[in-house]
Amino acid sequence: MNFDLTEEQQLVSDSIERFVQDSYNLESRMALVGKGPGFSEAHWKSMSELGWFGLPFSEDDGGFGGNQLDTMILMEHFGKGLVLEPFLASIVLGGGVLKRAANETQRKQWLETVIDGSKQLALAYSEAESGYEPHNVAVAGTKTADGFTITGTKCMVQHGGTADALVVSFRTSGGTTDKSGISLALIPADREGVTVQGFLTVDGLQSAEIAFDKVAVSADDLLGDVGDGFTVLNATINDGILAIAAEAVGAMEVLYKDTVAYTQEREQFDHALADFQVLQHRMVEMFMEHEQCKSLLYRATMEVANGGDDAQRNIHALKHLIGKAAFFVGENAVQTHGGMGVTEELRVGHYFKRLLVIEAQFGNTDYHLDQFAA
C-alpha cells in the first residue's frame, strides 16, 4: 500500500504548485473576476503549454494517458489558488463526454483543439427542475430526417458564456426522469437557435443559461448512440465531482491554515486569540475535517479510477462529506476571523464562497446523503 505520488506526478504537482503561487493572489484574481471572459487568457495559454490539459486523455487522443488521480492532483492545487480558468468545464466535463462517446471524426475535429486549449467546451445538462438528477431531462429532441431539433433551456452551465461548443443532454424518448432515452450532442455555441446568456456566480466564476429554440442537430453532432447518453453523462459528472472535491480539499487547507495564522497574530483581552482553548479545539476540528475529506477523496478517486464496484457509493459519500466539511470549515474560518472574515478584503471569505458553489454543484450535501442511504 502506498499513497505516494509517482515521480512524474510529483513533477507535475510541483509545477502546478509553483504556477498557483506565482500567478494567483487575491488582488490579481479580483482583477479578473467579472471582467471580459472572467479568467485570464494568458493563464489559459500557460496551462496549455505546460501540458496539463492532456493529463486525463489517452495517448491515442493526444493526451498523456493519465486518469482521475492526475486531475485530482491538479484540482487540489487549483483549490488552493481559487483558479478561475475553465479547466473543469472544458477538460473534465466537455472533454470527459467526448473521450467517452465521440466517434473518430469528432475526436479528430475536437479533441486536439480542446487539449491544446484553442477551443473550449461546456457541459449543458442541468435544468430548472432537474433537482440535481442528471437523468431528469425535459429539453426535448424531435426527430427529423437527418437527426433532431432540440428545444428547451439548460441552466447553470459553468463557463457556458465563453465556450466554443456545448455538450448538451436532451430527451429523445421516455418520461422526464427515465435514465434511458437521453441523448448527447456537441453543438457549436453560435449555431442558429442557441441563445447564451452568461452571468457571474458568487465565487467569481462564470455560468450561463442557454436556451435552445428548434436547434438542428445532425447525426454528425450526436455523441454516442441515440437514447444511450446517461451512462456517459453520469460517468463524466462523477469525474466532475471528484475534481471539485479535490478543489474543495485544497480550499479547506487554506482556510484552516489561514485561521491558525490569524489567531496567532490577532490580540484581544491581552492575549493572542490562539491562546483561547475554545478556538484551539475548533481549529483542531477544522484540521480533522480537512484530513477526513482528503482520505475519502483518495478512496473515491482510486475506486473510480480502478473501475471498482463501489464507485458510485464512494462518489455519494465523498460529495456529502465534502459539503458538510465545507460548511464547518468555512463557517468557523469566517467566525474566528470576526468582522474581518466577512469582508471582501481578506481571502477567507472568497474561499468560503467557492466552497458554497462547490457544495451546490452536481448535487448538494443532502442530495448525496439521500442517494447514499437509498
Partner: protein
C-alpha cells in the same frame, strides 16, 4: 403555570392587528410617504411610534406581554423600515444619563425620524475586547472642546448618518473600562472621513470612520467624563425583548417551508426528501423551545424580578436560528443560489441566496461575538471563576 394571555392582552392583540391592517402598505403608494404617515398614526395611538420608550418620554408604557404581542404581530404584518441606532440605542442612554437640555435637543428629532445616528464603538484593535478602545478625546486648554482622533470600524450606516454617538478615551489611568467618555457629534464635518467596507454579501452597510482633530463641544458629552463604559454597557443590556428575532424567525420558517415545497425534486418536492425535511423539523423544534425560553424570560420581567438564566441564551440561540434559516433557504435554492444577479431560471427566492447566507454569518459576530457571550454566561450564570494562581 399558565400560558394564556389575559383578557386585556387579547383585547390589545385585536387592537394591534386592527391598527396594522388599517395602515398596511398598499401597492402603488409612495413608500416614503406611507412610512412617515405610518409613524404619525402610530404616534396618535399613544406612543406606538416609539414602542420601547417609557411613558414619561412619550412611549406607550407597555407591559412585557404587550411588547411580546407587538413583536409577534409586526413580524407578520411588516412595518416601515427604521434605524435602531437613535431610537433604540442612543435614546435610552440619553433618557438615563443625558441632561435635560440634551434630551430636549436630540429626542424629538430621533422620534420624528429626521436625524439618522450611527454608533462609534468597535475599533480595528478593539472588537470583542471593546474596552481596549483607543480613539482619543482631549480636552482643550479652555475646557470648551474635546479634540477627537482615532478610527472606528464596522460602523453601520455611517455613510448616511447625520450624527454619531461615540466611545472615546479620555484617560489611560486605571483599568481599561475607566477613562471612556460618551460623546455626540455631527458626521458631516471636517475631520470625519468615511470609508466603505464591502462585505461578502456584496453589500455596503458598514464602514471605517477616521477622526482627525474633530472638535466636539463639551456640552455634547453625555454624563460624566470617564463613565462612558457604564452607560454603553447599560445600553447593551437594555434590549431584553426582541433581540433574538424569534417572532421574525417563526414567520421566516413558515415562508421557507412554502418555498421548499415549490422546489421540485424527482416527482415530488424538496420537502419530501428525507434529509431536508428532517433539517426543517429540527429547526422547528429548536424554535418551539426558544419561543418558550423567551416567554419565560418575559414572565420574569413582567413579575419585576431579575431575568433568570434562560434570558442569557436568547441572543445565542436566536442568532443561530436566524443563520440556519438563511442556510436552508440557500440550500432550497440549490445550485441557483450561486447566481450573482443576472439571468437565472431557478426559483425567484434563490437569487443571491448565497449572498444572503454569507451576510448572515455576521449575526454571530456583531454586537458581541458568540464566544464573548458564552464567556459572560460562564462567569455570570454558571458562576465559574478562574482558579489561576
Amino acid at each position: 403555570m399558565d400560558i394564556d394571555l389575559s383578557a386585556d392582552d387579547l383585547a390589545f392583540e385585536t387592537e394591534v392587528r386592527g391598527f396594522l391592517s388599517e395602515n398596511a402598505y398598499t401597492n402603488g403608494a409612495n413608500p416614503e410617504e406611507w412610512r412617515m404617515k405610518w409613524f404619525e398614526k402610530a404616534k396618535e395611538k399613544g406612543g406606538w411610534d416609539v414602542p420601547k420608550w417609557p411613558a414619561e418620554f412619550g412611549g406607550p408604557g407597555w407591559t412585557p406581554n404587550q411588547h411580546y404581542i407587538w413583536q409577534k404581530e409586526t413580524a407578520r404584518a411588516g412595518t416601515p423600515w427604521d434605524m435602531p441606532f437613535g431610537l433604540s440605542m442612543l435614546a435610552p442612554v440619553l433618557m438615563a444619563h443625558g441632561s435635560q437640555e440634551q434630551q430636549e435637543r436630540f429626542l424629538p428629532a430621533i422620534r420624528a425620524r429626521e436625524v439618522n445616528w450611527c454608533q462609534g464603538y468597535s475599533e480595528p484593535g478593539a472588537g470583542s475586547d471593546l474596552a481596549s478602545l483607543k480613539t482619543k478625546a482631549e480636552l482643550t486648554e479652555d475646557g470648551k472642546h474635546y479634540v477627537v482622533n482615532g478610527t472606528k470600524i464596522w460602523t453601520t450606516m455611517a455613510h448616511i448618518a447625520d450624527w454619531i454617538f461615540c466611545l472615546t478615551r479620555t484617560s489611560d489611568a486605571g483599568i481599561k473600562q475607566e477613562g471612556i467618555t460618551f460623546l455626540l457629534f455631527p458626521m458631516k464635518q471636517e475631520g470625519v472621513e468615511v470609508k466603505p467596507i464591502i462585505t461578502l454579501g456584496g453589500a455596503h452597510t458598514v464602514n471605517t470612520v477616521f477622526f482627525t482633530d474633530v472638535k466636539v463641544p463639551v456640552e455634547n458629552r453625555v454624563g460624566e467624563e470617564g463613565k462612558g463604559w457604564a452607560y454603553a454597557k447599560g445600553l447593551l443590556e437594555h434590549e431584553r425583548t426582541g433581540i433574538a428575532g424569534i417572532s421574525n424567525s417563526i414567520v421566516a420558517l413558515e415562508g421557507l417551508k412554502k418555498r421548499a415545497s415549490s422546489v421540485k425534486r424527482g416527482n415530488g418536492s424538496l420537502m419530501d426528501t428525507p434529509s431536508f425535511r428532517s433539517k426543517i423539523a429540527e429547526l422547528e423544534i429548536d424554535l418551539m423551545a426558544v419561543e418558550y425560553t423567551e416567554l419565560r424570560s418575559l414572565a420574569t420581567a413582567s413579575a419585576g424580578t431579575a431575568p433568570g438564566p434562560e434570558s442569557s441564551i436568547l441572543k445565542l440561540k436566536g442568532t443561530e436560528i436566524q443563520q440556519r434559516i438563511q442556510k436552508l433557504t440557500m440550500e432550497a435554492g440549490g445550485e441557483f443560489s450561486a447566481a450573482w444577479g443576472g439571468i437565472n431560471s431557478g426559483p425567484d427566492f434563490a437569487r443571491a441566496g448565497m449572498g444572503g447566507y454569507m451576510s448572515s454569518r455576521v449575526y454571530t459576530i456583531y454586537g458581541g461575538a458568540s464566544e464573548v457571550q458564552k464567556d459572560i454566561i460562564t462567569k455570570k450564570v454558571l458562576g465559574i471563576k478562574s482558579t489561576k494562581k
